[in-house]
Symmetry: none
Subunit: 267 residues, 2 copies
């Protein structure tokens, strides 16, 4: 990954400077930084692009301008033309995922790679597509094919980065591990003891299946050691807390001899 | 694929109507059409959204507005919170690709699925993430994390559509599906109410973080509807059961006038 040079992004005859800025932004999101413009409609640079880059100024500052796709791709070995409308062509048509794989392999071999995008309205000329080593088609719903230029760049850049990272995402097992079986069982037994005292398991012969159900339910949550402590606090609070309230009520309303602390704590 | 209902897209407190339009556009690109807004800053509808949808009017015309994430996800079973900044959490963190696979399997099992996106500036509240069944993190370059909202939707919608077109055999959920968001929230609120009555949340300013931790812990277990009922029975038994025991004790030991049923049931 260290000496892997990401694809160049080439925008052919882009119309809106804002779109160029948005493209720069999303390139930076996914670790791409070389942007080339072929005959941008309004010339270059355009101040309107920078705000849309949302801070990815280094991409815009490094833009190179060319007057043809051929010139913009001259130093590259593998360039894919991105179009939502595959034409009559004998060129291979790839998904963004498959294309990223080819670009990745070629870049890893030290070759210059790139992705070519057409203008917002007109797309790419067939003659320019012919300069490319293949076509990338994003799997757009045919009922709504109008894909924003920056979105098209985003999908391809995302696939590139996903492939380059090729590392599983952090998932919660990487943090605190689940508590040991002993701690979990201690928690279950605490819960069952208090539920039993509260008359939850009736008829009594249901205890086995009911407690198993509870263990399975809670077991799926895979509590950490800290979470086991928290949940035991919950059990304690629910089972004793109300008792404390009642105890106070009883003390206030009943003669002192009617209840004692040991009665209240029993069970 | 015929009766596979794509994920609902939920935008929490979105600020710019233009972004809502851009989201609708890219949803349509990838075959999604159900868009929900939670407390959009400028209200809804906003005329400025339609031009940005670039013809995907049916998505905007069908928008539903809610006043909380809980309400917007009440009928859904599996909702992933999309955030570029994974927090300290015990919830599973997935890539868009892995998340799509889970959503696909659950949708194929007939469950309601969704993707939750935070506001442009503030992202998502931890308390709203806690209502979700996991986190989706797009593999952004840490040097430029500012990802446009519509781009974030695009990446996830693209992964969904890529998977749907691939049409892998779904892994149907075996057994009962998880309960809906509404049932889960009802259970959380029941637990919190009883814990509050028992003096569990102290100091009171800890209520927020403590209840969030409990929601995340229990959320991971993905209780079925039946299990929600069982757990509510547990809460009820623990909080009232001890009261019943005390009530009986009090009746046996105190003069009849000392306590009344209404005293005992209070709180």
């Amino acid at each position: 990954m260290a000496d892997l040079t990401p694809p160049v992004v080439i925008l052919d005859r882009s119309q809106m400077a804002e779109n160029i800025g948005a493209v720069a932004r999303v390139m930076a999101n996914f670790g791409l930084d070389r942007l080339r413009l072929v005959s941008p409609r309004d010339g270059w640079p355009q101040d309107r692009a920078w705000p849309l880059a949302s801070g990815a100024d280094w991409v815009l500052d490094g833009v190179q301008v060319f007057d043809s796709v051929a010139a913009a791709t001259a130093d590259l070995t593998t360039v894919f033309a991105t179009t939502a409308r595959p034409r009559e062509t004998r060129q291979p048509v790839r998904t963004p995922r498959d294309a990223s794989r080819v670009l990745y392999d070629d870049a890893a071999s030290g070759l210059g790679v790139g992705l070519l995008f057409g203008s917002e309205r007109a797309g790419l000329e067939t003659s320019d597509i012919a300069l490319c080593q293949g076509i990338v088609t994003i799997p757009i719903d045919p009922r709504h094919q109008s894909l924003n230029l920056a979105q098209a760049v985003a999908i391809n850049a995302y696939e590139w980065r996903t492939l380059v990272l090729d590392a599983p995402p952090p998932n919660f097992r990487e943090g605190e591990p689940p508590a040991s079986g002993a701690l979990a069982v201690g928690m279950y037994e605490h819960l069952e003891r208090e539920l039993d005292a509260a008359g939850f398991f009736h008829p009594p012969e249901k205890f086995r299946s009911m407690s198993q159900n509870l263990r399975v339910m809670l077991g799926r949550a895979a509590f950490t050691e800290q979470e086991v402590a928290t949940f035991r606090g919950v059990i304690h609070a629910l089972s004793k807390g109300r008792g404390r309230v009642l105890e106070r009520l009883a003390k206030e309303r009943a003669p002192p001899s009617a209840t004692t602390d040991s009665d209240v704590d029993a069970g």
